[in-house]
Amino acid sequence: MEGLELAQMALSEASRNGATAAEILIVSAESLAAGVRLGEVEKLKSSRERRLGLRIFTGQSSATASTADFEPASVAGFVASTVALARLTASDPWSGLPDRTLHPRDLVELELSDPNHRIIEADKALGLARVAEAAALKLDPRIKNSEGAEFDSGFYRVLFANSQGFSGEYAGTSYSLSVVPIAQNGGSMQRDYWYTANRRYDQLEDPESVGLTAARRALRRLGARKIKTSRAPVVLDPDIAGGLIRSMAGAASGPSLYRGASFLIGKLGTQVASPNVTIIDDGTIVGGLGSKPFDGEGLKTSRKAIVENGVLATYLLDTYSARKLKLAPTGNAARSVGESPTVSPANLYLQAGPYPPEEIIRSVKQGLYVTELIGFGINMVTGDYSRGAGGMWIENGELAYPVQEITIAGNLKDMFQSIEMVGNDLHWRSATAAPTIKIAEMTIAGE
């Protein structure tokens, strides 16, 4: 028994066992990862997996479960034991399937799959990784070592059905190529990386250019030093700026808000960032890496501004958190197979501003250009922010020398309010994108 037939069987088993409502999710995936290091094949990893997830309601009580056993008899037993588990769970007035009128009638075509390719065969994948790594290795004699290059391709299929008559299916592909070269000079050693990712094989960045960018980034870090503790302007490169807006999306997500675990509680409709900040979440971008036709509860995904000209315009909500906060769900329910829905942005981005990145750097007399952050020093309850940083010191508008073993610290509330400049360099390489940004001032701790 396959797909929809299996799903319908599980749903009717649920009902037969006394469930008042149920949802089933079946995810199957295959992938191939091909890695080379120093020109030689290092690894080939191929996978096939499928998992079945259930969410069962008995009145206002619910339980979730997942299994890899698709034998119809096993599935029936599995459904029965999940119904039993739901009965042991507390009745929760907010729990339940979404309002049935919110399910989409037709699914839009989002072009999530490459029309011409599936899994890229091993020889070809290894070849691409080899070209990318070779480009990095031959750029400069100081690139002497490498952690290798890897080409990954994946294909997945999602089937979702619930007991109020909604069902939907979609499939997607993904391709990525990454390179991690190591630059050495005397006793000092630095690594950096670069990657390209797309749902269409033909739209990946050229492998040589991926390798060259990775090598330049590693070389740029050689000779990095620690600097004196100071307060100074901080410019975040696009990847780092993307991480910052993910913190905003996390704080704006329903579960963080109703739990009291967000620095954005009670801030809807107020100025939470400088007026040049507009943050959009859009699950409907054609070919977007985070796009999907419906969310983890079968609700239509959408495009909305989370922050519009600095004003917090919406929260990100699934049905449960929306009910708790007396708002409408936003199609942001995220679902790993065996768990209750959580909330996540789909394609999240900071809208581009007017400034070329060079002009942003030029505007700084003394300050920090951040290209790497490490650690988890973000307190989502208070907004307190303190992370390990690496990058370039800016002197008189120029990138002067690399720096490391420093931290940047502040509070997210102040950091968003003091975003002075937003770059025009918005490029999509993952489900989050942002241009270069400049924060007026942060504490930089060093010597």
Binding site: R37, S47, T67
Partner: protein, 482 residues
């Protein structure tokens, strides 16, 4: 299920209709081209989680997963294929995919003969696993935690508590004919408390567990200690002032601050990074990398610990490895692939998250041996500095050696006394340098309560850390108060 618990090596044979002869045939297929080594990794995992928020035990979940991975190694190349269908046909396909790594046809490595299972350590033989305890009983415990925390202080705004348990049955069969199997129970109780005082809101988190029976959480009311500790941390932070910024003396409290060793030292000593020459510790065996006060150990053989294993995920018995002895770098952590290529012995540190992953050298329980100072002497010796008691996560760039770990509870030390609490701050240092700055080590070694999870290359595995109270003469503290 009782017979599974008795003999893990029989479990897969009966559950999936396998036989030693079938393993031999598949390993022969895997080795058909010129390869050094092949293994099969079988995994069957049962898991459950139960959680409470807003005084309701409103989420329960369970999962069953199983799968098999076939790995072929030829020199430094690895081919790996896995499937969640544990059948002979799937394994044959996987073996054919994995052996693509060994591209030259050559002499066969010889016919594989699977022998008897290796003798096992017994570090966590449990009468009952935490999964056997009824869900209702765990739900009652979470409700009790909620009541006690809320009653403990009127500023408590929300309590989130969760219990998670799993039982993994694994079996590894390799081309040397060795067969190893294990049953690995694991559980963890976690409590987060949000407190509010006017507009000031703070969070505290604590928990614990291990490869233990459920009753472990009840002994000496451990569950209650975890709950009240989470509340205490949150309340302390209501009074926290801005943390200092810049380099200063830092005293680390005992226990969980041992995350310092995990980030600063442990990852950099994993065999893969050193074989490839990409670690800041590459070629430094025998050199002084720490003060003579420091002896750092990785030990996978401590009974019932979260980071312990009877055998690693390649079937090698875990062991106790001296990483640093009185300041001198002694050893790396090895899996079989890297040990073979570096011509040394595996240390039982080949671990993986699941059948969907290949093994890598990973830590188990990493800690520093006790010294001679009392914690009071250590704090009393500091004129101006930071006393860091609890931490969130950490991370390291193994190539340049820079590492961070983020304090979630810390205080100023002024004239030898612990004074005001300060807000959380990230500490950043240099792995090969930081332990050379250790000037006092306490006599109070403690291991953490059983909460650690380590991420590497996208794979998470449970680990432990430990530390005596330790004084570091200078590390950069990333506060906001410049």
């Amino acid at each position: 299920m009782a017979n599974e618990v008795q003999a893990p090596d029989q479990f897969f044979l009966t559950r999936f209709g396998m036989s030693e002869r079938a393993f031999e045939r598949i390993l022969d297929t895997a080795l058909e081209r010129k390869a050094d080594y092949a293994d099969l990794y079988f995994e069957y995992r049962d898991a459950e989680s139960i959680s409470l928020e807003e005084s309701m035990v409103n989420r329960t979940s369970k999962s069953v997963s199983h799968g098999v991975g076939v790995r072929v190694c030829a020199e430094d190349r690895t081919g790996y294929a896995y499937s969640d269908e544990v059948t002979i046909d799937r394994m044959k396909l996987a073996a054919e995919a994995a052996r693509a790594i060994a591209d030259q046809r050559g002499d066969r490595a010889g016919v594989v003969q699977v022998g008897q299972p290796a003798a096992r350590q017994s570090l966590y033989e449990l009468k009952t696993t935490p999964l056997d305890v009824p869900v209702e009983e765990k739900a009652r415990l979470l409700s009790e935690i909620d009541k006690i925390v809320r009653a403990s202080d009127p500023r408590v705004k929300n309590v989130m508590a969760s219990f998670a348990a799993e039982r993994k049955i694994v079996m590894i069969v390799n081309s040397e004919g060795r067969i190893a199997a294990d049953i690995q129970p694991l559980c963890r109780l976690n409590v987060s408390v949000i407190v509010e005082d006017g507009t000031n809101r703070q969070v505290g988190t604590f928990g614990g567990g291990g490869r233990v029976e459920y009753s472990y959480l009840l002994e000496g009311e451990r569950w209650k200690q975890y709950a009240l500790e989470a509340a205490r941390q949150a309340l302390v932070n209501l009074d926290a002032v801005d943390a200092p910024a810049g380099e200063m003396v830092v005293v680390l409290a005992h226990g969980w601050p041992g995350i310092l060793l995990h980030e600063a030292i442990g990852h950099g000593l994993e065999g893969d990074f050193n074989r490839k020459g990409v670690s800041a510790f590459t070629n430094r065996i025998g050199q002084q990398v720490a003060s003579p006060l420091c002896t750092v150990i990785d030990d996978g053989t401590i009974a019932n610990r979260r980071g312990s294993l009877n055998v690693d995920d390649e079937g090698t018995p875990t062991s106790r490895t001296v990483l640093i002895e009185k300041g001198i770098l002694r050893g790396y952590l090895q899996d079989t692939l890297n040990a073979r290529l570096m011509k040394t012995a595996p240390t039982g540190n080949g671990r993986r998250e699941s059948f969907a992953h290949t093994p890598m050298p990973r830590m188990t329980n990493t800690f520093m041996l006790a010294g001679e100072s009392t914690p009071e002497e250590i704090i009393g010796s500091v004129k101006h500095g930071l006393y860091a008691v609890s931490f969130g996560g950490g991370q390291v760039d193994i190539t340049n050696g820079k590492f961070v770990f983020s304090a979630s509870e810390a205080y100023l030390i002024e004239d030898g006394h612990v004074t005001r609490p300060v807000k959380g701050a990230t500490l950043i240092g240099d792995g090969p340098d930081v332990l050379t700055r250790v000037s006092m080590v306490g006599n109070d070694l403690e291991l953490d309560s059983g909460i650690g999870t380590c991420g590497k290359d996208g794979q998470s595995v449970p680990v432990g850390v430990g530390l005596p109270t330790t004084r570091i003469d200078g590390i950069t503290v990333g506060g906001t108060h410049a």
